[in-house]
């Protein structure tokens, strides 16, 4: 996948592969959201927070903004994704903890809701384990609070009027809302990119697993599956199907005398002709070396199958021009043996159908051997 514009935003070390690229971009999205939120809070806090808290909050916000900028530099200028992600998680977590501790503690704070934000960040940036780890913080926070009180250390006194309390609650709610949505948006974008990449790869493997790389026809594995399915369809709709099994008679000497690349070109050309002369719904497959097969569904009788066979043989029989390694061309005429079997007349199962067609092909081939033992290929110059 290409992100021509977005690439500028990502450090060169993180541009390899869609995954690291999208990860870097989404972390950047989260960090810019945090920066914007911090700046907004700097302006909003004087109007919404109790005066006693204000200096502390302003100080903490400025510190956080500095850290955010530092993480940005880590990510863009130094390409340290893992460090930046861990830093973002720490930043989010400690801000939430400090906020709750300094506004009356776990059981009284109006800012309690903000504890969701680092958990969502943990799940989005880190996954299940990180998310659970941060979620486990909640009981730990209660312990910390108890510990501080038992040690006799003073937490700053927190007092707010009912109105201030409500305002603070609202502000923290909206902060939580913004951070969580942003984190989940980033995670959703990342998942979508990864999923598209994986699906594309899967399709590619699927294609390679079912197609012959040389001719692009279905390979033996795909052919067997298709044949079984075609037989099932034939059972259902009562229409017979014909299997045509084709074996080239004099391919091996061409391969041996003109070289493999000429042989490959010949196979490609013949495959193209087979596809062209069969009907659109027929399935043409290369079963191996110089064997091909055609599944022709809706073939009502032997005559139709014979017609199709004649057509295919005629297409194969016209000469093929093959380039030789020395630059010249040679005209080659190929002879093929074709065996036909019809389902369900001559065979009751796909395997039996294949064997029947194979046997029919060999009958033809032995006839060829008897009548024309030589092959029509001039000796290579």
């Amino acid at each position: 996948m290409a992100f021509p514009v977005a690439d500028i935003l990502v450090h060169p070390a993180l541009r390899h592969g869609a995954e690291s690229r999208v990860r870097a971009l989404t972390l950047m999205l989260i960090l810019s959201g945090l920066l914007l939120l911090g700046v907004a809070m700097l302006f909003v806090s004087p109007f919404t927070l109790p005066d006693a808290l204000l200096p502390l909050v302003q100080c903490g916000l400025q510190l956080n903004l500095g850290l955010c900028a530092l993480l940005f530099v880590l990510l863009r200028a130094m390409g340290r994704y893992a460090l930046a992600a861990a830093g973002t998680l720490l930043l989010g977590t400690w801000s939430a903890v400090i906020t709750v501790l300094f506004t009356g503690g776990l059981f009284h704070s109006p800012a309690f809701g903000i504890l969701i934000a680092p958990v969502v960040l943990g799940f989005s940036l880190g996954g299940l384990r990180t998310g659970l780890l941060i979620a486990a913080l909640l009981p730990l926070l209660a312990l910390l609070e108890q510990g501080i009180q038992l040690a006799g250390l003073p937490l700053p006194p927190f007092s707010a009027t009912a109105e201030e309390y409500r305002d603070m609650q609202q502000v923290t709610h909206w902060i939580t809302y913004a951070i969580s949505s942003l984190a989940m948006l980033s995670a959703a974008l990342l998942r979508r990119a990864l999923r598209r990449e994986r699906d594309a790869e899967r399709l590619q493997w699927q294609y390679q697993a079912t197609h012959d790389p040389l001719t692009g026809l279905a390979n033996r594995r795909a052919f067997q599956e298709q044949l079984a399915e075609a037989c099932l369809r034939s059972d259902r709709n009562g229409q017979p199907l014909a299997l045509l099994y084709i074996d080239l008679d004099n391919f091996k000497p061409i391969n041996d005398q003109l070289g493999h690349s000429a042989g490959d070109q010949l196979l490609q050309e013949l495959a193209r002709r087979l596809v062209q002369s069969s009907r659109r719904t027929d399935i043409v497959a290369r079963l191996g070396g110089d064997e091909f097969a055609v599944i022709a569904e809706f073939t009502p009788g032997r005559e139709n199958a014979a017609q199709l066979a004649e057509k295919l043989l005629a297409a194969l029989a016209s000469p093929v021009q093959l380039p030789l390694p020395d630059g010249s061309e040679q005209s080659v005429q190929i002879e093929a043996s074709l065996g036909t079997a019809v389902y369900p007349e001559e065979a009751a199962s796909p395997e039996a159908l294949l064997t029947a067609a194979d046997r029919a092909m060999y009958c033809v081939k032995s006839l060829h051997h008897d009548t024309a033992p030589g092959h029509r290929l001039e000796p290579a110059p």
Binding site: H173, Y177, A187, R191, R192, Q208, H260, K365
Partner: protein, 374 residues
């Protein structure tokens, strides 16, 4: 209805087929969490605050709603209805209580508004999620406009309760709900991802291996050969490529039938595999051609011995059913970087060496093969 793909949710041995199936399983999990959550809340309100019937009715109705979506999804495969219904349900379930308890700027229940956004993102509806995330704060403007025209929103306060306690309870339950959603989502999506990866691995194996013998196929071998050439460049250790072609294999296929030919190829592939070291790479290039890649191999007696070993392995009679076959092979050897400087060049050099050998054997027409390595 019987063919509905999502019916298979109930089967444990269900294999992933399409992205929609996977998303469907996720949706089932999310709906289950929501139904359980609203059900528990309904019970809580029914038993803890005996005189508050409004929330009990609303929560009971929403439990029934989620269960209905769940049934529609699992029995009839209504995925779209289920996913949009879940987002709409959580949206209503967030907005109504917020508006009833003071509106967007005062309600202690505000965190519940995160749920529809979460659901949309979890279900992969990125655009809807983004629209909700930005749209809900915009509702605040609407509320301000309403308040300017028609006066303040009616606030239902729970009799006898205190704002702080309400807020803590609301926050805690929102926290718990979000947490359980995140956990369920992560667990389900990790499992789905793993299944999809297994499927991908299987397809990859099929694409790179010969289905008859299980050896690597030409495509995979070419890649391996290129990698080996790069390694050889770095380590300055030559590598050898053996090209093996069975003599007169076509005749076996023609005279004894394909099933005999296939069994013969399998048997010979096994023998070749046994003759090699574990680090050597054996591949079936197609038909009756095999190739062997030996890293850090030099021309010399040990290589000659290996070629002889392969020759012997091929020549030993093969019994298939009632037939006993005697096969021979022509083997061509080429070295990298001595004979060719590229992977494809090396392959054709070995191929050419094999053909020279085959021609030489043909010229000794019918005489028994000399057996000396190339």
């Amino acid at each position: 209805m019987k063919n509905c793909p999502l019916r298979r949710f109930i089967h444990a041995d269900w294999a992933p087929a399409s992205p929609e199936h996977e998303q469907g399983r996720l949706l089932v999990a999310l709906l289950l969490v929501m139904a359980t959550y609203t059900g528990l809340q309904c019970l809580f309100f029914a038993f803890a605050t005996l005189f508050l019937w409004l929330p009990v009715i609303i929560l009971g109705a929403s439990t029934a709603y989620y269960v209905a979506l769940l049934v529609g999804l699992v029995r009839y495969g209504w995925y779209r209805l289920g996913s949009l219904g879940l987002v709409a349900g959580t949206l209503a379930g967030g907005l109504i209580p917020v508006l009833l308890t003071g509106g967007l700027f005062a309600s202690p229940l505000l965190p519940v508004l995160l749920l529809p956004v979460t659901m949309a993102f979890f279900l992969g509806m990125v655009r809807l999620g983004t629209a909700l995330a930005f749209g809900l704060p915009l509702l605040g403007l609407l509320q301000l406009a309403w308040e300017a025209i028609a006066g303040a929103l009616p606030v239902i306060s729970f009799p006898g309760s205190r704002a702080r306690q309400d807020s803590i309870i609301a926050n805690l339950s929102a926290y718990g709900l979000m947490l359980s959603m995140l956990v369920v989502f992560e667990i389900v999506s990790t499992r789905l991802r793993r299944e999809r990866d297994t499927e991908r691995q299987r397809l990859r194996y099929l694409a790179l291996h010969d289905h008859l013998t299980g050896l690597t196929n030409r495509r995979h071998f070419t890649e391996q050969l290129e990698a080996a050439c790069r390694r050889a460049d770095r380590t300055r250790q030559p590598l050898a490529l053996l090209f093996i072609d069975l003599d007169h294999f076509k005749m076996v296929n023609d005279q004894c039938g394909h099933h005999v030919g296939d069994a013969l190829l399998c048997e010979l592939a096994n023998r070749l595999r046994d003759a090699l070291r574990r680090t050597d790479i054996l591949s079936r290039l197609g038909g009756d051609e095999f190739a062997i890649l030996l890293e850090q191999a030099q021309p010399g007696p040990s290589l000659d011995m290996l070629v002889e070993k392969i020759n012997r392995a091929v020549r030993a009679p093969v019994t298939i059913g009632e037939q006993t076959l005697h096969m021979t092979a022509s083997i061509g050897v080429a070295f990298y970087p001595h004979d060719a400087q590229t992977a494809t060049g090396l392959l054709s050099a070995a191929d050419a060496a094999m053909y020279r050998r085959k021609q030489a054997r043909r010229r000794q027409s019918g005489a028994e093969s000399d057996g000396t390595p190339v």
